[in-house]
């Protein structure tokens, strides 16, 4: 069993949990993910690793409540144990030889962008973190980015935090003002990553996007996480989760991501109702 050693709400719908998982912590690297089950009847969900501590044997996850399983997870307390926790899965972020990188994160995707920024920063790379949220209430990891980047560019849709605008606006401005990046690494909603990659491609900058499709086993067996990259079918779990953003078919990925949307919505409501009843 995998104990939740720390639980912290980063904003009303995003929670950070530190999980005791020594085997996973030993090998974890930024860019990789884990799969967990909350209970013996639970579904398997993939979550990208937000941080890890090899000495303490812990792995940190950050998740947004979107469906039944994340709702259940969010109700678990410090000291509770997850039924299953397996990883690290997927390939780590490629960091070799990078001297200057723009890390572009959006929303809860910033949770995954952060360990990438941190690793690059530790390696002595110049990191420009461009982080965007809908509004100031949804901001997470502000300090963490500040401590692990050369510069942080803060964006919000409504201007309530940092500058008003999209992360693509900031990225465009930076590139056009002469900033030369070896690579743009982007993690966030698919639609955001699509446009970030669009900006990078337009300016001939290499772009890497971290994908988070529906998956079950996470070891290449089910093929549910398949994507089209450069016209070829790839499996996010073993070939990724990071791919060349110029080659990803984002429209297909967005369509595939909605496969179980009705089920998820229904399941989320059902789970909420269940918890509401328990409270009474």
């Amino acid at each position: 069993m995998f104990e939740i050693v720390k639980r912290e709400e980063l904003n009303p719908t995003v929670t950070r949990m530190v999980i005791s998982a020594p085997n996973c912590a030993r090998k974890a690297e930024p860019g990789q993910f884990i799969i967990l089950r909350t209970d013996a009847e639970g579904e398997r969900i993939p979550l990208t690793i937000a941080d890890f501590d090899r000495e303490k044997g812990t792995v940190t996850i950050i998740f947004q409540v979107v469906g039944g399983t994340t709702e259940k997870l969010n109700h678990m307390k410090e000291g509770d144990c997850l039924q299953d926790f397996v990883g690290p899965l997927g390939k780590k972020t490629h960091t070799d030889g990078l001297k200057k990188v723009a890390v572009v994160g959006g929303g809860v995707g910033c949770a995954i962008a952060f360990p990438v920024a941190k690793k690059l920063h530790q390696l002595g790379c110049e990191v420009h973190s461009i982080v965007g949220f809908r509004n100031k209430d949804l901001v997470i990891l502000e300090k963490d980015f500040e401590e692990n980047s050369s510069k942080v560019f803060k964006m919000s849709d409504d201007g309530s935090w940092g500058e008003k605008g999209l992360v693509t606006d900031a990225l465009t401005k930076l590139i056009e003002s002469g900033e030369q990046y070896d690579e743009v690494i982007t993690i966030g909603p698919l639609i955001m990553m699509k446009f970030v990659c669009g900006v990078a491609v337009k300016h001939n900058v290499k772009c890497v996007a971290s994908m988070n499709p529906i998956m079950i086993d996470g070891t290449g067996m089910c093929g549910g996480c398949r994507l089209t990259v450069g016209g070829k079918t790839v499996f996010a779990c073993v070939d990724g989760p990071e791919f060349d953003g110029a080659l990803i078919d984002f429209d297909e990925a967005m369509a595939r991501g909605t496969m179980y949307r009705d089920f998820e919505r229904h399941k989320h409501e059902e789970t909420c109702n269940l918890f509401a009843k328990e409270v009474k």
Binding site: R44, Q83, V86, G220, M221, R261
Partner: protein
């Protein structure tokens, strides 16, 4: 006196109309009377060709003689000398090509129902045996690791544990059993039976570590250098599902058989209230003709769909076990043989990009085939008939085309040689290109059967024992 009835005892089964709406086991098993009557059909002939047909060489006439005497415990002891998983094999082995295919009673009538008798004996044992009475064999002080808890891994682990080895099985998923739990459906192999077999191994002292992806969580070299495992068996099974590379394969409603079956079998998505979703399609096309295709088709049927098997060769060429094809037909699966898909069609509302139906499967374009000259495999090669294109009206497509090996272990184990197509290279004893590392099952052969994987696990266990005893 032998029972000279040319016909075997019928297997009691659930009525097809009833069973096609539930996930309970289809075959119900012989009664004691039926088992004894069937056992008496064995002539105990001199040559015992059945034993030669068995990949794990169960001493078949001897166990059948015990059944005929009503000594079921004695029969079990004989089977378990050779097989670690008799309740499984009795259900899923292709007996018609193995033991029963060689039975002399089959020349003028029907072969002795060896598989059904094996199942009977194993079920009798599981119902009556006391696991707490099992003694953990005395330790011989050697530590071995088994990667994967499918049929090859469990067999290898069982054989080594019986010899006194300290065996740890590493499993990537949250539950042990491999294909026996994620692949083969409940109605063909109840999961309680698999768990019972695994409990039996644990009673022998075998440790099972779930949630451990060897190649990711830990490497083989770490197991050997840091954790003190002296020898390792790789039974990691088949890997990545194959697709046809036709347009539309990434539409919503196209599954690999692995995904469809895993959602149903491992994750119990068929149950009301399950946390794991599955599409409840109206009309399903399963592409392929093997056992996995039959399993997927029969699962889809049980979820309430009208189901087609789409296979490019003819009925005669279906690679699935006869019994699975028969059961599928009885349950109303429609066989579209000599048919090959060319494109999967999806819904697209040009007026509304946010239409929730966009991107879902609406049909599958196919062409009719005819059989031409035999190809390299000796089977007649299917060729396309001119102007035969038609569209099958389906909203879900399941690709059951086999798998290609998983690269995880190969890419993290230096010096482990693989075939060009990715299979791990192992000699006839299962020894790989690395000293002390053995492999068997689908990871070596590509997709095959449970019993062949068990045979490989057994062979490797013997070789590992010899290696460690002479080290």
């Amino acid at each position: 006196m032998a029972n000279m009835n040319p016909k075997r005892n019928e297997m009691p089964v659930q009525d097809p109309k009833v069973r096609s709406t539930n996930f309970n086991e289809v075959a119900l098993g012989y009664t004691e009377e039926q088992a004894i009557d069937e056992a008496k059909r064995c002539l105990n002939c001199k040559n015992k060709p059945c034993v030669g047909g068995c990949p794990v060489k169960i001493y078949i006439p001897a166990f059948i003689a015990k059944v005929a005497e009503g000594d079921f415990a004695g029969a079990y002891d004989i089977i378990s000398e050779s097989s670690s998983l008799p309740a499984v094999c009795g259900r899923v082995c292709p007996q018609e090509n193995q033991c029963e295919g060689k039975c002399v009673r089959g020349i003028k009538g029907e072969a002795v129902a060896i598989g059904r008798l094996e199942r009977f004996v194993a079920d009798w044992h599981n119902a009556n045996a006391d696991l707490s009475a099992v003694k953990v064999p005395a330790s011989n002080g050697h530590k071995v690791a088994v990667i994967g808890s499918g049929p090859s891994g469990l067999t290898c682990a069982g054989d080594l544990a019986k010899k006194g080895y300290d065996v740890t099985v590493f499993e990537a998923l949250h539950l042990a059993g491999g294909v026996l739990v994620y692949g083969i459906p409940e109605f063909r192999l109840p999961k309680a039976i698999v768990q019972k077999e695994i409990e039996g191994l644990k009673a022998l002292g075998v440790k099972v570590e779930t949630n451990t992806v060897v190649g990711k969580t830990i490497s083989i070299d770490e197991l050997m250098e840091e954790y003190g495992f002296e020898s390792v068996f790789i039974g990691s099974g088949a890997g990545l599902p194959k697709f046809m590379r036709i347009p539309g394969e990434n539409l919503k409603g196209v599954y690999s058989a692995n995904e469809f079956l895993t959602r149903i079998n491992l994750m119990k998505a068929y149950r009301e209230g399950s946390d794991t979703p599955i599409q409840h399609a109206k009309r399903v096309a399963v592409v392929g003709g093997g056992n996995v295709a039959m399993d997927a088709a029969r699962c889809a049927k049980r979820l309430g769909a009208e189901v087609y098997i789409v296979y490019r060769r003819g009925m005669e060429e279906l690679p699935a076990r006869h019994e699975e094809v028969e059961h599928a037909m009885e349950e109303g699966i429609i066989f579209k043989t000599l048919t090959n898909p060319t494109e999967i069609l999806g819904y697209n509302n040009p007026e509304d990009r946010r239409d929730p139906m966009n991107g879902f499967v609406t049909g599958m374009k196919c062409v009719e085939m005819e059989l031409g000259e035999p190809d390299a495999s000796g089977r007649r090669r299917p060729v396309e008939k001119a102007d035969s294109e038609f569209t099958l009206d389906v909203d879900c497509v399941i690709m059951a085309l086999g798998t290609s090996p998983n690269p995880l272990i190969k890419s993290t184990t230096e010096g482990l040689e693989t075939e060009k197509w990715g299979g791990i290279i192992a000699d006839e004893n299962g020894l790989t290109s690395r000293k002390g590392i053995y492999a068997g099952g689908d990871a070596v052969t590509g997709a095959a059967t449970v019993i062949l994987a068990m045979g490989a696990g057994k062979t490797a266990a013997a070789a590992m024992d010899e290696y460690l005893q002479n080290k």
